[in-house]
Amino acid sequence: MSELLEVQDLQTRFKVRKGYVYAVNGVSFRLEEGETLAVVGESGCGKSVTMLSLVRLLPPAGRIESGQVLLRGDDLLALDQRQLRDVRGGQVGMIFQDPMTSLNPFINIGTQMAEPLLYHRGMSKKDALARSAELLEMVGIPDGVARLREYPHQFSGGMRQRVMIAMAMSCEPSVLIADEPTTALDVTIQAQIVELVKELRDRSGVAVIWITHDLSVVAGIADRVIVMYAGYIVEEAPVDAIFEDPRHPYTVGLLGALPSLGGETGTRLTTIGGAPPDLAELPTFCPFHTRCPFVIDRCRSENPMLEPVSGASDRGHRAACWVDIRGVTEQTGGTVATEQ
């Protein structure tokens, strides 16, 4: 596989009333052609901001301070607006969290779906509508021609997300960025959407970046996983290694918080105690140390870099932690993962 996307040292911050919020702090990762990369982490850890930064869709208060986003060698952060629009929708498709509000209520589905085709592909209106009908059937909405005339409010949440996926895929992008696409949907629909994206990926060979905070979804779809915390990547590994051999205490905590069918009944789910740090300034310590059961003195004075872990099954397994947590007993002093 060859390299499709390379993000280097991406930093994004938001201007707020008093100073800044450091949302993304030097994130670097790579995506191969046709690969599926999952980005996990709790709310506010910088997952979405990272992805919005890639195609410069940040809200006005947000600014990319440094970094490079190389898509097949072209730096997206250096493109002018025109070239950037060709990338958005053309080479990079995006789907968002809330399908209920992601479609323009005033335009019928057909006109809306035809827009990117008209714009990026220069199709005639008639061809674009015919293609849209095909796309609808491709994402599992039968009777596409008739449904093109309907308005978004006549579609359920799951169907709207299918429409969004069809639109994002309509110009055959090389990357599909899915920003928590299943979060707002109920569980059975979530599974259908995951299956749909897998099927489209296998058929078209599109690379997928799947943002989620649901690790159970990750297991089914991803090749590789990035775990983010406080605007940093804290662990990066192939999907099996994340589940079998997690090396960052935060990943361990996330996995521990998963409910499992084989678990004991009558016990409460494990949670990670405490809250993520305030990102009003860049931390000079490990941002996770206040919640970490493995904390040592060094964690409070130095922020660890993302480095390859020792004894890993895969060379791409990296973690940002001072402690080799295998076989280390929990230290006192830190906030221990509590049963609540």
Binding site: V55, L57, P59, P60, L84, R85, D86, V87, R88, G89, G90, V92, G93, M94, F96, D98, T101, S102, L103, N104, P105, F106, I107, N108, E115, P116, Y119, H120, R149, E150, Y151, H153, Q154, M164, M167, A168
Partner: protein, 323 residues
Amino acid sequence: MTTQELSGPATFSTVEASRSNLWKDALARLAANRLAVVGIIPIILLFFIAIFGPYLTPYDFLAQDFTARLAPPSSVHWLGTDELGRDVFSRILYGARTAVSVGVISTVISLVVGIIMGSLAGYLGGRVDMMVVWLTDVTRSMPALLLAIVINLTLKVPLEAWLEQMYLQTKNTFFRQTMWVDLVLVFGALALIQWPGYARLIRGQILSIRSRNYVLAARALGMPTNRILTRYVIPNAMGPLIVAVSAGLGGAMVLESAFSFLGVGVQLPIPSWGKMISDGLRLWQTHSYLLVGPAAMMAIITVSFAWLGDGLNDALNPRQWKE
């Protein structure tokens, strides 16, 4: 507007059948709204009279019948005659032309200014936004009538003097007509009073729509800004705007009447309902019919515009469509 369109169930099925185009759908829904249909009829009549009124009137608006001064309503003069023996009915029909032209033109001017200023403020934000908001606040802090009087008093004399000078220099008879000075001043004053409302409305709409998900989704699909504005932002801002315009048209007509009533509006000989009310008021105890005609027209038109605006709002909002 037929009776069939007024009946509920019949129209409902037509709504179901023709859901192919937003405007067609909206029209069908509007037709299903009784209050809006009742409101449309006087408005259509008003525009019809405004355009064709002069051909319909039994008398010229200036024609005086000295034998029948202050005549009560009769078969000859349907709504009677005024102090100078002019036919009140004819003057009301002519007055429709004044009301419509003042309402439409001043609304168009204030809309254009309001949309430009509001869009700039909403889309650019920052300094521009602060400037526009400040300007609207300043304008709105002044009482509308006071503003109109000040404009009229300060600009009318210099403007007429300038026209006179232009005529002397160019000998172009165009500059001899001073009648439209009044109209320009009235349009200007009305536009000045009304644009801040539209600007603030548009600004608020754009601020709210700009941050909606479908705009983000459209940007993520690579749509250019002008296309996002015309297809995503503006249509979604239209509902409240159409309602505001509809109410604003009625409001402008009432304001024009108020100006005329106070003597800072359209001057005779063009009949204006406000002026007629003002003239009629002096004689209302003995000749109340002079007051009833124009006042009733004002009331009917204002209410009609409000009903139509309400109906349009419901019709143009797909989210409120029943399944």
